[in-house]
Protein backbone atom coordinates (compact mmCIF):
# COMPACT_ATOMS: atom_id res chain seq x y z
CA UNK A 1 0.00 0.00 0.00
CA UNK A 2 1.54 3.33 -1.06
CA UNK A 3 1.95 6.07 1.51
CA UNK A 4 0.57 9.50 0.59
CA UNK A 5 3.23 12.05 1.52
CA UNK A 6 4.64 15.38 0.49
CA UNK A 7 8.34 16.14 0.32
CA UNK A 8 11.11 17.63 -1.78
CA UNK A 9 13.14 15.71 -4.34
CA UNK A 10 16.12 15.73 -2.01
CA UNK A 11 14.08 14.23 0.82
CA UNK A 12 12.63 11.68 -1.60
CA UNK A 13 16.15 10.55 -2.55
CA UNK A 14 17.24 10.45 1.10
CA UNK A 15 14.12 8.44 1.92
CA UNK A 16 14.86 5.93 -0.82
CA UNK A 17 18.43 5.66 0.48
CA UNK A 18 17.15 5.08 4.02
CA UNK A 19 14.82 2.36 2.81
CA UNK A 20 17.60 0.68 0.83
CA UNK A 21 20.07 1.10 3.74
CA UNK A 22 23.31 1.01 1.71
CA UNK A 23 26.55 -0.20 3.28
CA UNK A 24 28.44 3.04 2.70
CA UNK A 25 27.53 6.69 2.09
CA UNK A 26 30.60 8.87 1.50
CA UNK A 27 29.58 12.49 1.54
CA UNK A 28 30.80 15.95 0.69
CA UNK A 29 28.18 18.72 0.55
CA UNK A 30 27.39 21.06 -2.36
CA UNK A 31 24.26 23.08 -3.18
CA UNK A 32 21.61 22.02 -4.12
CA UNK A 33 22.33 18.36 -3.25
CA UNK A 34 23.46 19.06 0.34
CA UNK A 35 20.12 18.18 1.91
CA UNK A 36 20.52 14.56 0.78
CA UNK A 37 23.45 13.80 3.11
CA UNK A 38 21.86 16.16 5.67
CA UNK A 39 18.67 14.08 5.85
CA UNK A 40 20.71 10.90 5.74
CA UNK A 41 22.95 12.03 8.62
CA UNK A 42 19.76 12.35 10.71
CA UNK A 43 18.78 8.77 9.81
CA UNK A 44 22.25 7.65 10.88
CA UNK A 45 21.99 9.59 14.16
CA UNK A 46 18.51 8.16 14.80
CA UNK A 47 19.71 4.62 14.18
CA UNK A 48 17.37 4.12 11.24
CA UNK A 49 20.13 2.81 8.97
CA UNK A 50 23.21 0.64 9.41
CA UNK A 51 25.20 2.60 6.84
CA UNK A 52 28.83 3.58 7.35
CA UNK A 53 28.50 7.36 6.86
CA UNK A 54 31.87 8.83 5.91
CA UNK A 55 32.50 12.59 5.76
CA UNK A 56 35.37 13.23 3.38
CA UNK A 57 37.16 16.39 2.27
CA UNK A 58 36.12 16.62 -1.39
CA UNK A 59 33.95 15.10 -4.09
CA UNK A 60 36.98 13.44 -5.65
CA UNK A 61 37.33 11.62 -2.34
CA UNK A 62 33.63 10.91 -1.80
CA UNK A 63 33.41 8.99 -5.04
CA UNK A 64 36.83 7.40 -4.44
CA UNK A 65 35.64 6.18 -1.02
CA UNK A 66 32.54 4.74 -2.70
CA UNK A 67 34.74 2.92 -5.21
CA UNK A 68 36.85 1.47 -2.43
CA UNK A 69 33.71 0.24 -0.70
CA UNK A 70 32.26 -1.13 -3.93
CA UNK A 71 35.51 -2.91 -4.77
CA UNK A 72 35.27 -4.55 -1.35
CA UNK A 73 31.80 -5.81 -2.27
CA UNK A 74 29.68 -3.15 -0.56
CA UNK A 75 26.73 -1.16 -1.88
CA UNK A 76 27.89 2.47 -1.84
CA UNK A 77 26.16 5.75 -2.59
CA UNK A 78 26.85 9.47 -2.68
CA UNK A 79 25.32 12.70 -3.93
CA UNK A 80 26.62 15.85 -5.59
CA UNK A 81 25.97 18.77 -7.93
CA UNK A 82 27.71 21.06 -10.39
CA UNK A 83 31.36 21.73 -9.57
CA UNK A 84 31.27 18.72 -7.25
CA UNK A 85 30.48 16.46 -10.18
CA UNK A 86 33.20 18.16 -12.23
CA UNK A 87 35.67 17.53 -9.44
CA UNK A 88 34.66 13.85 -9.45
CA UNK A 89 35.30 13.64 -13.18
CA UNK A 90 38.49 11.60 -13.05
CA UNK A 91 36.92 9.11 -10.65
CA UNK A 92 33.70 8.83 -12.69
CA UNK A 93 35.69 7.15 -15.45
CA UNK A 94 37.40 4.89 -12.94
CA UNK A 95 34.00 3.78 -11.60
CA UNK A 96 32.81 2.92 -15.10
CA UNK A 97 35.94 1.09 -16.15
CA UNK A 98 36.23 -0.83 -12.86
CA UNK A 99 32.60 -1.83 -13.40
CA UNK A 100 31.64 -0.76 -9.89
CA UNK A 101 27.90 -0.09 -9.64
CA UNK A 102 27.97 2.90 -7.29
CA UNK A 103 24.78 4.97 -7.37
CA UNK A 104 25.30 8.72 -7.49
CA UNK A 105 22.45 11.17 -6.92
CA UNK A 106 22.93 14.40 -8.86
CA UNK A 107 20.90 17.54 -8.18
CA UNK A 108 21.74 19.06 -11.55
CA UNK A 109 23.09 22.58 -11.44
CA UNK A 110 24.85 24.97 -13.78
CA UNK A 111 28.64 25.07 -14.01
CA UNK A 112 30.71 28.18 -13.46
CA UNK A 113 30.84 30.72 -14.97
CA UNK A 114 29.42 33.06 -14.24
CA UNK A 115 29.00 31.39 -10.89
CA UNK A 116 25.41 30.24 -10.46
CA UNK A 117 23.63 27.81 -8.16
CA UNK A 118 20.52 27.13 -10.24
CA UNK A 119 19.43 24.35 -12.51
CA UNK A 120 20.60 23.21 -15.89
CA UNK A 121 22.25 20.01 -17.13
CA UNK A 122 25.77 21.39 -17.71
CA UNK A 123 27.10 19.16 -14.94
CA UNK A 124 25.48 15.80 -15.66
CA UNK A 125 25.61 16.08 -19.46
CA UNK A 126 29.29 17.01 -19.32
CA UNK A 127 29.68 13.58 -17.67
CA UNK A 128 27.67 11.79 -20.37
CA UNK A 129 30.67 9.93 -21.74
CA UNK A 130 32.05 8.84 -18.37
CA UNK A 131 30.47 5.39 -18.45
CA UNK A 132 27.64 6.12 -16.00
CA UNK A 133 24.08 5.16 -16.74
CA UNK A 134 21.96 8.32 -16.42
CA UNK A 135 18.31 8.50 -15.40
CA UNK A 136 16.39 11.80 -15.43
CA UNK A 137 13.13 12.73 -13.73
CA UNK A 138 10.26 15.18 -14.17
CA UNK A 139 9.39 15.47 -10.47
CA UNK A 140 10.00 14.11 -6.96
CA UNK A 141 7.95 10.96 -7.65
CA UNK A 142 10.07 10.02 -10.66
CA UNK A 143 13.29 10.74 -8.78
CA UNK A 144 12.16 8.43 -5.98
CA UNK A 145 11.07 5.72 -8.39
CA UNK A 146 14.29 5.99 -10.41
CA UNK A 147 16.27 5.62 -7.20
CA UNK A 148 14.37 2.47 -6.24
CA UNK A 149 15.28 0.98 -9.64
CA UNK A 150 18.87 2.30 -9.72
CA UNK A 151 20.75 -0.35 -7.74
CA UNK A 152 19.06 -3.24 -9.53
CA UNK A 153 19.99 -1.83 -12.93
CA UNK A 154 23.56 -0.91 -11.96
CA UNK A 155 24.30 -4.16 -10.10
CA UNK A 156 22.80 -6.52 -12.68
CA UNK A 157 25.47 -9.06 -13.78
CA UNK A 158 24.93 -8.10 -17.44
CA UNK A 159 25.57 -4.45 -16.61
CA UNK A 160 27.75 -3.74 -13.54
CA UNK A 161 28.04 -0.04 -14.30
CA UNK A 162 27.75 3.04 -12.09
CA UNK A 163 24.55 5.02 -12.33
CA UNK A 164 23.47 8.63 -11.84
CA UNK A 165 19.98 9.41 -10.59
CA UNK A 166 19.51 12.98 -11.79
CA UNK A 167 17.00 15.53 -10.50
CA UNK A 168 16.59 19.20 -11.40
CA UNK A 169 18.42 21.38 -8.88
CA UNK A 170 16.03 23.49 -6.79
CA UNK A 171 13.10 22.97 -9.20
CA UNK A 172 12.82 19.34 -8.06
CA UNK A 173 15.41 19.10 -5.29
CA UNK A 174 13.81 21.85 -3.20
CA UNK A 175 10.16 21.84 -4.32
CA UNK A 176 7.74 20.12 -1.98
CA UNK A 177 5.10 18.18 -3.87
CA UNK A 178 2.84 15.21 -3.24
CA UNK A 179 4.48 11.81 -3.58
CA UNK A 180 3.49 8.17 -3.20
CA UNK A 181 6.11 6.41 -1.08
CA UNK A 182 6.31 2.65 -0.78
CA UNK A 183 6.58 0.65 2.45
CA UNK A 184 10.14 0.05 3.69
CA UNK A 185 9.77 -3.74 3.59
CA UNK A 186 8.45 -3.68 0.03
CA UNK A 187 11.28 -1.43 -1.10
CA UNK A 188 13.85 -3.72 0.51
CA UNK A 189 12.24 -6.74 -1.14
CA UNK A 190 12.18 -5.02 -4.53
CA UNK A 191 15.77 -3.74 -4.42
CA UNK A 192 17.18 -6.89 -2.82
CA UNK A 193 20.59 -7.40 -1.27
CA UNK A 194 23.86 -6.95 -3.13
CA UNK A 195 26.00 -10.05 -3.45
CA UNK A 196 28.59 -9.36 -6.16
CA UNK A 197 30.23 -12.29 -7.84
CA UNK A 198 33.69 -10.74 -7.50
CA UNK A 199 35.14 -8.46 -4.87
CA UNK A 200 38.52 -7.45 -3.58
CA UNK A 201 38.90 -9.66 -0.53
CA UNK A 202 37.08 -12.75 -1.71
CA UNK A 203 39.24 -15.56 -0.40
CA UNK A 204 38.36 -18.11 -3.09
CA UNK A 205 39.04 -15.70 -5.89
CA UNK A 206 41.48 -12.92 -5.01
CA UNK A 207 41.61 -10.21 -7.65
CA UNK A 208 43.47 -7.06 -8.54
CA UNK A 209 41.43 -3.90 -9.00
CA UNK A 210 42.63 -1.12 -11.28
CA UNK A 211 45.80 -2.58 -12.82
CA UNK A 212 47.52 -1.04 -15.83
CA UNK A 213 45.92 -1.96 -19.16
CA UNK A 214 48.52 -2.45 -21.84
CA UNK A 215 47.56 -1.67 -25.42
CA UNK A 216 47.04 -5.33 -26.07
CA UNK A 217 44.18 -5.42 -23.54
CA UNK A 218 42.98 -1.86 -23.01
CA UNK A 219 40.62 -1.89 -25.97
CA UNK A 220 39.06 -5.21 -24.95
CA UNK A 221 38.24 -3.71 -21.56
CA UNK A 222 36.70 -0.64 -23.18
CA UNK A 223 34.62 -2.71 -25.60
CA UNK A 224 33.41 -4.94 -22.76
CA UNK A 225 32.36 -1.77 -20.94
CA UNK A 226 30.59 -0.47 -24.06
CA UNK A 227 28.79 -3.80 -24.35
CA UNK A 228 27.65 -3.49 -20.74
CA UNK A 229 26.07 -0.14 -21.60
CA UNK A 230 24.28 -1.78 -24.53
CA UNK A 231 23.13 -4.58 -22.20
CA UNK A 232 21.81 -1.97 -19.77
CA UNK A 233 18.98 -1.16 -22.18
CA UNK A 234 17.21 -4.48 -21.68
CA UNK A 235 17.91 -4.48 -17.95
CA UNK A 236 16.41 -0.97 -17.60
CA UNK A 237 13.23 -2.21 -19.30
CA UNK A 238 13.10 -5.44 -17.27
CA UNK A 239 13.53 -3.63 -13.97
CA UNK A 240 10.89 -1.07 -15.01
CA UNK A 241 8.48 -3.90 -15.86
CA UNK A 242 8.99 -5.47 -12.44
CA UNK A 243 8.61 -2.05 -10.85
CA UNK A 244 5.29 -1.52 -12.65
CA UNK A 245 4.11 -4.95 -11.52
CA UNK A 246 5.18 -4.30 -7.92
CA UNK A 247 4.28 -0.63 -7.43
CA UNK A 248 1.98 0.19 -10.36
CA UNK A 249 3.95 3.03 -11.96
CA UNK A 250 5.33 2.49 -15.47
CA UNK A 251 8.58 3.72 -16.95
CA UNK A 252 10.46 3.26 -20.21
CA UNK A 253 13.43 4.92 -21.89
CA UNK A 254 11.21 7.94 -22.41
CA UNK A 255 7.62 9.00 -22.05
CA UNK A 256 5.69 9.68 -25.27
CA UNK A 257 3.08 12.29 -24.45
CA UNK A 258 0.23 12.65 -26.98
CA UNK A 259 2.61 11.48 -29.74
CA UNK A 260 0.28 9.00 -31.56
CA UNK A 261 -0.66 11.44 -34.33
CA UNK A 262 1.64 14.33 -33.43
CA UNK A 263 2.90 16.42 -36.35
CA UNK A 264 5.06 18.67 -34.21
CA UNK A 265 6.94 17.60 -31.12
CA UNK A 266 9.59 18.47 -28.58
CA UNK A 267 12.26 16.22 -27.12
CA UNK A 268 12.80 17.50 -23.62
CA UNK A 269 14.10 16.36 -20.23
CA UNK A 270 13.22 16.84 -16.57
CA UNK A 271 10.80 19.26 -14.92
CA UNK A 272 10.41 21.36 -18.08
CA UNK A 273 8.63 18.39 -19.65
CA UNK A 274 5.78 18.83 -17.16
CA UNK A 275 5.45 22.50 -18.04
CA UNK A 276 5.51 21.64 -21.76
CA UNK A 277 2.80 18.98 -21.23
CA UNK A 278 0.45 21.71 -19.98
CA UNK A 279 1.18 23.54 -23.24
CA UNK A 280 0.58 20.39 -25.32
CA UNK A 281 -2.81 19.94 -23.63
CA UNK A 282 -3.76 23.54 -24.41
CA UNK A 283 -2.65 23.18 -28.05
CA UNK A 284 -4.52 19.88 -28.44
CA UNK A 285 -7.68 21.61 -27.16
CA UNK A 286 -7.16 24.10 -30.01
CA UNK A 287 -6.79 21.27 -32.53
CA UNK A 288 -3.00 21.52 -32.93
CA UNK A 289 -1.38 18.09 -33.30
CA UNK A 290 1.40 18.67 -30.76
CA UNK A 291 3.20 16.09 -28.66
CA UNK A 292 6.35 15.64 -26.67
CA UNK A 293 8.92 13.03 -25.79
CA UNK A 294 10.35 13.24 -22.30
CA UNK A 295 13.70 11.48 -22.20
CA UNK A 296 14.24 9.50 -19.00
CA UNK A 297 17.35 7.54 -19.95
CA UNK A 298 20.20 9.55 -21.49
CA UNK A 299 22.80 6.80 -21.02
CA UNK A 300 22.41 4.35 -22.62
CA UNK A 301 20.93 6.61 -25.29
CA UNK A 302 17.80 4.94 -26.68
CA UNK A 303 18.46 6.07 -30.24
CA UNK A 304 16.49 3.50 -32.21
CA UNK A 305 13.42 3.80 -30.02
CA UNK A 306 13.56 7.59 -30.06
CA UNK A 307 13.88 7.66 -33.84
CA UNK A 308 10.83 5.40 -34.13
CA UNK A 309 8.85 7.69 -31.82
CA UNK A 310 9.74 10.78 -33.87
CA UNK A 311 9.67 9.45 -37.43
CA UNK A 312 6.06 10.36 -38.20
CA UNK A 313 6.50 13.99 -37.07
CA UNK A 314 6.98 16.82 -39.54
CA UNK A 315 9.01 19.08 -37.26
CA UNK A 316 10.75 18.44 -33.96
CA UNK A 317 12.48 20.79 -31.52
CA UNK A 318 15.24 19.35 -29.37
CA UNK A 319 15.31 21.23 -26.09
CA UNK A 320 18.85 21.40 -24.71
CA UNK A 321 19.29 22.59 -21.13
CA UNK A 322 23.05 22.76 -21.44
CA UNK A 323 25.35 24.55 -23.83
CA UNK A 324 27.90 22.18 -25.29
CA UNK A 325 29.91 24.90 -27.08
CA UNK A 326 29.98 22.69 -30.16
CA UNK A 327 28.88 25.64 -32.34
CA UNK A 328 26.11 23.47 -33.78
CA UNK A 329 23.80 22.67 -30.86
CA UNK A 330 23.66 21.02 -27.48
CA UNK A 331 24.34 17.38 -26.58
CA UNK A 332 20.71 16.22 -26.73
CA UNK A 333 20.47 17.58 -30.28
CA UNK A 334 23.67 15.86 -31.37
CA UNK A 335 22.53 12.51 -29.96
CA UNK A 336 19.01 12.77 -31.38
CA UNK A 337 20.27 13.86 -34.80
CA UNK A 338 22.57 10.83 -34.77
CA UNK A 339 19.64 8.61 -33.84
CA UNK A 340 17.43 9.65 -36.77
CA UNK A 341 20.26 9.67 -39.30
CA UNK A 342 19.37 6.39 -40.96
CA UNK A 343 15.60 6.82 -41.01
CA UNK A 344 14.32 6.94 -44.58
CA UNK A 345 12.26 10.03 -43.77
CA UNK A 346 13.10 11.98 -40.70
CA UNK A 347 11.45 15.12 -39.36
CA UNK A 348 12.99 18.53 -39.81
CA UNK A 349 14.81 19.27 -36.58
CA UNK A 350 15.88 22.36 -34.70
CA UNK A 351 17.81 22.76 -31.48
CA UNK A 352 16.79 25.25 -28.81
CA UNK A 353 19.16 25.82 -25.91
CA UNK A 354 17.10 27.10 -22.99
CA UNK A 355 16.93 27.45 -19.23
CA UNK A 356 20.64 27.89 -18.55
CA UNK A 357 21.52 28.84 -14.98
CA UNK A 358 17.91 28.54 -13.87
CA UNK A 359 16.35 30.78 -16.57
CA UNK A 360 12.66 29.98 -16.13
CA UNK A 361 10.83 27.86 -18.73
CA UNK A 362 7.13 28.68 -18.90
CA UNK A 363 4.04 27.35 -20.67
CA UNK A 364 4.19 30.45 -22.90
CA UNK A 365 7.80 29.69 -23.79
CA UNK A 366 6.79 26.17 -24.82
CA UNK A 367 3.98 27.67 -26.91
CA UNK A 368 6.48 29.83 -28.80
CA UNK A 369 8.49 26.70 -29.69
CA UNK A 370 5.41 24.87 -30.97
CA UNK A 371 4.47 28.02 -32.92
CA UNK A 372 7.79 27.92 -34.73
CA UNK A 373 7.45 24.16 -35.33
CA UNK A 374 3.96 24.64 -36.81
CA UNK A 375 5.43 27.07 -39.33
CA UNK A 376 8.18 24.60 -40.30
CA UNK A 377 5.67 21.73 -40.51
CA UNK A 378 3.50 23.81 -42.84
CA UNK A 379 6.42 24.03 -45.25
CA UNK A 380 7.94 27.27 -44.00
CA UNK A 381 11.62 28.01 -43.66
CA UNK A 382 13.56 25.90 -41.19
CA UNK A 383 15.28 29.06 -39.99
CA UNK A 384 18.40 28.85 -37.83
CA UNK A 385 18.91 25.29 -36.60
CA UNK A 386 20.66 26.29 -33.38
CA UNK A 387 19.21 29.08 -31.25
CA UNK A 388 19.05 30.19 -27.64
CA UNK A 389 15.65 30.80 -26.07
CA UNK A 390 14.82 34.21 -24.63
CA UNK A 391 18.29 35.58 -25.17
CA UNK A 392 18.42 39.20 -23.96
CA UNK A 393 19.57 41.79 -26.45
CA UNK A 394 21.04 43.98 -23.72
Amino acid sequence: MSIRERMSGNEAIATAMRQIDPDVFAMFPITPSTEIPQYFAQYVADGKVNTEFICVESEHSSLSACLGAEAAGCRAVTATSSAGLSYMNEVLYVAGSLRLPVVLAVACRALTGPININHDYSDSLAARDSGFIQLYAENNQEVYDNYLMAHRIAEHPDVRLPLMVCEDGFITSHAIENIELEEDAQVKAFVGEYHPEHYLLKEENPLAVGPYGVSGYYMEARVAQAQAMINAKQVILDVAADFAKTFGRSYGFFESYRMEDAEIAMVIMGSSAGTAKACVDALRAEGVKAGLVKLRVFRPFPGEELAAALQHCKAVAIMDKSEGFSSMGGPLFAETAGAVLNLEHHPRMIDIVYGLGGRDFTVEAARSVYGRLAGIAAGGDLGPVYTHMGQREK
Binding site: I171, H174, I176, E177, N178, T362
Partner: protein
Protein backbone atom coordinates in the same frame (compact mmCIF):
# COMPACT_ATOMS: atom_id res chain seq x y z
CA UNK B 1 -5.88 25.84 -8.87
CA UNK B 2 -4.78 28.55 -6.45
CA UNK B 3 -1.39 30.17 -6.91
CA UNK B 4 0.33 32.14 -4.15
CA UNK B 5 3.50 34.20 -4.26
CA UNK B 6 5.38 35.06 -1.08
CA UNK B 7 7.74 38.01 -0.77
CA UNK B 8 10.08 38.17 2.18
CA UNK B 9 13.65 38.75 3.15
CA UNK B 10 16.21 36.00 3.57
CA UNK B 11 15.95 34.69 7.12
CA UNK B 12 12.35 35.78 7.76
CA UNK B 13 10.90 32.44 6.81
CA UNK B 14 8.83 33.17 3.69
CA UNK B 15 9.98 29.79 2.33
CA UNK B 16 8.96 28.09 5.57
CA UNK B 17 5.58 29.85 5.49
CA UNK B 18 5.00 28.57 1.97
CA UNK B 19 5.88 25.07 3.18
CA UNK B 20 3.42 25.40 6.08
CA UNK B 21 0.66 26.45 3.68
CA UNK B 22 1.48 23.44 1.50
CA UNK B 23 1.35 21.21 4.59
CA UNK B 24 -2.07 22.53 5.62
CA UNK B 25 -3.49 22.11 2.11
CA UNK B 26 -1.90 18.67 1.77
CA UNK B 27 -3.60 17.55 4.95
CA UNK B 28 -6.99 18.51 3.51
CA UNK B 29 -6.36 16.20 0.54
CA UNK B 30 -4.98 18.67 -2.00
CA UNK B 31 -2.08 18.42 -4.41
CA UNK B 32 0.52 20.97 -3.43
CA UNK B 33 3.67 22.63 -4.63
CA UNK B 34 5.89 24.78 -2.43
CA UNK B 35 9.12 26.06 -3.88
CA UNK B 36 11.60 28.87 -3.32
CA UNK B 37 13.35 31.04 -5.89
CA UNK B 38 16.97 31.46 -4.94
CA UNK B 39 19.48 34.04 -5.94
CA UNK B 40 22.82 34.75 -4.35
CA UNK B 41 21.46 34.10 -0.84
CA UNK B 42 22.20 36.43 1.97
CA UNK B 43 20.32 37.29 5.07
CA UNK B 44 18.00 40.24 4.49
CA UNK B 45 17.96 40.09 0.67
CA UNK B 46 14.54 39.93 -1.01
CA UNK B 47 13.44 36.34 -1.68
CA UNK B 48 10.40 34.82 -3.31
CA UNK B 49 8.58 31.57 -2.57
CA UNK B 50 5.57 30.05 -4.29
CA UNK B 51 2.60 27.73 -3.78
CA UNK B 52 0.33 25.92 -6.18
CA UNK B 53 -2.65 24.18 -4.59
CA UNK B 54 -4.92 22.08 -6.75
CA UNK B 55 -7.26 19.09 -6.91
CA UNK B 56 -5.09 17.31 -9.52
CA UNK B 57 -1.31 17.05 -9.67
CA UNK B 58 -0.01 20.18 -11.43
CA UNK B 59 2.66 19.37 -14.04
CA UNK B 60 3.81 22.99 -14.40
CA UNK B 61 7.16 23.73 -12.79
CA UNK B 62 7.73 27.34 -13.76
CA UNK B 63 7.64 30.27 -11.37
CA UNK B 64 4.28 31.96 -10.83
CA UNK B 65 3.70 35.18 -12.76
CA UNK B 66 -0.08 35.69 -12.34
CA UNK B 67 -0.78 34.68 -8.74
CA UNK B 68 -4.18 34.65 -7.08
CA UNK B 69 -2.68 35.87 -3.81
CA UNK B 70 0.48 37.70 -2.83
CA UNK B 71 1.78 37.66 0.73
CA UNK B 72 4.31 40.30 1.77
CA UNK B 73 6.12 39.20 4.91
CA UNK B 74 8.21 42.38 5.14
CA UNK B 75 6.50 45.72 4.61
CA UNK B 76 9.74 47.47 3.63
CA UNK B 77 9.78 45.42 0.41
CA UNK B 78 6.96 47.61 -0.91
CA UNK B 79 9.60 50.28 -1.55
CA UNK B 80 11.79 48.10 -3.76
CA UNK B 81 9.78 45.16 -5.15
CA UNK B 82 6.72 45.38 -7.41
CA UNK B 83 4.87 42.86 -5.26
CA UNK B 84 1.54 43.08 -7.10
CA UNK B 85 3.08 42.41 -10.55
CA UNK B 86 0.70 40.08 -12.38
CA UNK B 87 -1.54 39.68 -9.32
CA UNK B 88 -5.10 38.89 -10.39
CA UNK B 89 -7.62 41.70 -9.83
CA UNK B 90 -10.01 39.25 -8.18
CA UNK B 91 -7.24 38.10 -5.85
CA UNK B 92 -5.69 39.86 -2.91
CA UNK B 93 -2.42 41.14 -1.50
CA UNK B 94 -1.80 40.57 2.20
CA UNK B 95 0.85 42.74 3.85
CA UNK B 96 2.47 42.33 7.25
CA UNK B 97 1.79 45.83 8.52
CA UNK B 98 0.28 47.74 11.43
CA UNK B 99 -1.06 50.25 8.90
CA UNK B 100 -4.63 50.49 7.75
CA UNK B 101 -5.03 48.66 4.41
CA UNK B 102 -6.32 51.87 2.82
CA UNK B 103 -2.97 53.50 3.60
CA UNK B 104 -1.10 50.62 1.93
CA UNK B 105 -2.98 50.85 -1.36
CA UNK B 106 -1.04 53.90 -2.64
CA UNK B 107 2.16 51.85 -2.25
CA UNK B 108 0.87 49.04 -4.47
CA UNK B 109 1.37 50.38 -8.00
CA UNK B 110 -2.33 50.93 -8.69
CA UNK B 111 -3.47 47.43 -7.74
CA UNK B 112 -7.28 47.44 -7.82
CA UNK B 113 -8.08 44.19 -6.00
CA UNK B 114 -8.37 43.49 -2.30
CA UNK B 115 -5.65 44.90 -0.07
CA UNK B 116 -5.33 43.26 3.33
CA UNK B 117 -3.14 44.02 6.32
CA UNK B 118 -2.19 41.98 9.34
CA UNK B 119 -0.03 43.18 12.20
CA UNK B 120 1.98 39.97 12.43
CA UNK B 121 4.57 41.55 14.69
CA UNK B 122 2.23 42.44 17.54
CA UNK B 123 0.27 39.18 17.23
CA UNK B 124 3.46 37.16 17.27
CA UNK B 125 4.90 39.11 20.21
CA UNK B 126 1.63 38.73 22.17
CA UNK B 127 1.15 35.00 21.52
CA UNK B 128 4.71 33.69 21.18
CA UNK B 129 6.79 36.30 22.96
CA UNK B 130 9.05 36.61 19.92
CA UNK B 131 8.81 37.83 16.33
CA UNK B 132 7.87 34.91 14.05
CA UNK B 133 5.80 36.49 11.28
CA UNK B 134 5.19 33.14 9.51
CA UNK B 135 2.38 31.87 11.64
CA UNK B 136 0.12 34.96 11.48
CA UNK B 137 0.84 35.42 7.74
CA UNK B 138 -0.12 31.81 7.06
CA UNK B 139 -3.39 32.25 8.97
CA UNK B 140 -4.08 35.53 7.18
CA UNK B 141 -3.71 34.06 3.68
CA UNK B 142 -5.96 31.14 4.59
CA UNK B 143 -8.58 33.52 6.03
CA UNK B 144 -8.47 35.92 3.08
CA UNK B 145 -8.48 33.24 0.38
CA UNK B 146 -10.79 30.85 2.23
CA UNK B 147 -8.85 28.08 0.44
CA UNK B 148 -9.19 25.89 3.53
CA UNK B 149 -12.25 26.02 5.79
CA UNK B 150 -11.36 27.74 9.09
CA UNK B 151 -12.07 24.95 11.57
CA UNK B 152 -10.50 22.31 9.30
CA UNK B 153 -7.40 24.47 8.98
CA UNK B 154 -7.13 25.02 12.74
CA UNK B 155 -7.58 21.36 13.60
CA UNK B 156 -5.08 20.26 10.93
CA UNK B 157 -2.56 22.80 12.20
CA UNK B 158 -3.07 21.60 15.76
CA UNK B 159 -2.34 18.07 14.62
CA UNK B 160 0.72 19.28 12.75
CA UNK B 161 2.04 21.26 15.75
CA UNK B 162 1.52 18.29 18.08
CA UNK B 163 3.74 16.30 15.74
CA UNK B 164 6.28 19.04 15.02
CA UNK B 165 6.60 20.27 18.60
CA UNK B 166 6.34 16.88 20.29
CA UNK B 167 9.38 17.80 22.36
CA UNK B 168 8.24 21.39 22.99
CA UNK B 169 4.51 21.05 23.82
CA UNK B 170 4.53 24.41 25.64
CA UNK B 171 4.69 26.30 22.32
CA UNK B 172 1.67 24.57 20.74
CA UNK B 173 -1.00 26.67 22.47
CA UNK B 174 0.74 29.94 21.60
CA UNK B 175 0.96 29.01 17.95
CA UNK B 176 -2.69 28.01 17.79
CA UNK B 177 -3.72 31.24 19.51
CA UNK B 178 -1.57 33.10 17.01
CA UNK B 179 -3.42 31.46 14.11
CA UNK B 180 -6.89 32.20 15.57
CA UNK B 181 -6.16 35.84 16.34
CA UNK B 182 -4.58 36.41 12.92
CA UNK B 183 -7.62 34.92 11.16
CA UNK B 184 -9.85 37.30 13.12
CA UNK B 185 -7.72 40.41 12.89
CA UNK B 186 -6.76 40.52 9.21
CA UNK B 187 -8.11 43.82 7.89
CA UNK B 188 -9.25 44.54 4.37
CA UNK B 189 -9.72 47.60 2.19
Amino acid sequence: MIEVRWHGRGGQGAKTASQLLADAAFMTGKYVQSFPEYGPERSGAPITAYNRISDERCPIHSNIYDPDYVVVVDETLLESVDVTAGLKENGAVIVNSAKDPADLRPLLNGYKGRVCAIDARSISMDCLGAYFPNTPMLAAVVAVSNMIERETFLSEMEESYRHKFARKPQVIEGNLKCLRIAMDEVKEA
